[in-house]
């Protein structure tokens, strides 16, 4: 027991000595953002609108949007809120691109 306590105290002294005096963002709690992440976030803010569709709303319209794109229509102008969400949401974007490819492969059989 005595040896364990001695080791614990020694370890605490070592850690206190080696810890940095200040964290990267001294006034802030974690999580903190890197400079590159801050820039990416500001880019997202530049595209942020008060009215944005949710993932569910976009999912409901994704097939309509994809067909307009497939027909060569200006879907982005006709359905700007869907286009905007696809630019902001990587999950929905991935599903949209997969849907387009699926439609491309099945077009002749439809």
């Amino acid at each position: 027991m005595k040896l364990r306590d001695f080791f614990k105290q020694w370890w605490r002294r070592v850690m206190a000595f080696t810890q940095p005096k200040e964290a990267a963002s001294p006034a802030f709690d974690s999580p903190a953002f890197s400079d590159e992440q801050v820039k990416a976030l500001v880019m997202g803010l530049a595209q942020t609108d008060a009215r944005e569709l949710s993932c569910d709303e976009v999912y409901a319209l994704l097939d309509v949007f994809a067909e307009r794109v497939q027909r060569g229509e200006d879907a982005a102008t006709m359905m700007p809120l869907v286009e905007h969400h696809l630019a902001m949401c990587p999950d929905c974007r991935e599903e949209y691109e997969a849907l387009l490819k699926s439609m491309e492969a099945t077009a002749a059989g439809d």
Binding site: P20, E22, A23, A24, S25, A27, F28, D29, S30, P31, A32, F33, S34, D35, Q37, V38, K39, A40, L41, V42, M43, G44, L45, A46, T48, A50, E52, S54, C55, D56, Y59, A60, L61, L62, D63, V64, A66, E67, C89, P90, D91, E94, E95, A98, L99, K101, S102, M103, E104, A105, T106, A107, A108, G109, D110
Partner: protein, 223 residues
């Protein structure tokens, strides 16, 4: 090749002409007493589409068949939610793609926790702190660094802990919203709204401080 006839296990061809059902025919036959033939045709179509859509993903033929099978179940369970605003086959492919990608994301991120992702970020910040001159001399900071520090402060003041955590998980680790949401006890829809609320608040606060995102981006681009 797309116009060739493909044969299923019973030797019956997936006749391309038979695929040209109207939307009503699809719905009526799938909801009817003997949907087997229609189901087989739909299964063939979904499999063909998914195979091409997921060509760049690591999936086996067995995976594809499982995804299509799960997709078919979901389609049959939700036939009444088809709104006829797009073709039935497009709607069905949308359902199947969602099923497949949801499962693929789960597999890919199965062993990764939010703490893992956040810890990576903290390690990176620690390294940065260790290498940077920490003398508190404002004269040495560039305007860009000051702006970055200001935005950092605003992020801290305006976003909740949950919003910061979610943002970091998506930005730092590239974790899909679906996976972040599950670890935070919500669905993807709610997470998107949480993040949108955070972006809105931050944008408003920055506007109040006279910091327009476009101007900041122009400043960052001048480095």
């Amino acid at each position: 090749m797309l116009f060739s006839t493909q044969f299923d296990a019973r030797g019956r061809g997936e006749n391309i002409l038979a695929m040209n059902r109207t939307d009503d025919e699809w719905i009526d036959e799938l909801g009817g007493a003997t949907p087997d033939g229609t189901l087989a045709d739909l299964r063939g179509l979904l499999l063909r589409g998914l195979r091409f859509a997921l060509a760049s993903y690591r999936v086996t033929e067995s995976d594809l068949e499982d995804f299509v099978q799960d997709g078919l179940l979901k389609i049959l369970d939700n036939l009444t939610s088809y709104r006829r605003e797009a073709r039935f086959t497009t709607w069905a492919q949308k359902v199947c793609v969602r099923v497949a990608l949801t499962e693929l994301r789960r597999r890919r991120w199965r062993d990764v926790s939010l703490e893992d992702i956040i810890a990576q970020s903290e390690i990176a910040d620690f390294t940065l702190a260790a290498l940077t001159d920490q003398s508190p001399d404002p004269g040495e900071a560039t305007v860009t660094k000051m702006m970055l520090a200001t935005v950092q402060r605003l992020i801290h003041e305006e976003l909740t802990e949950r919003q910061r955590t979610a943002l970091l998980a998506v930005m730092q680790g590239g974790m899909p919203l679906q996976e972040v949401a599950e670890r935070m006890g919500m669905n993807r829809n709610a997470l998107y709204k949480l993040l949108h609320d955070g972006r809105q608040r931050l944008k408003q606060r920055m506007g109040n401080e006279g910091l327009a995102p476009q101007e900041l981006l122009a400043m960052f681009g001048q480095r």
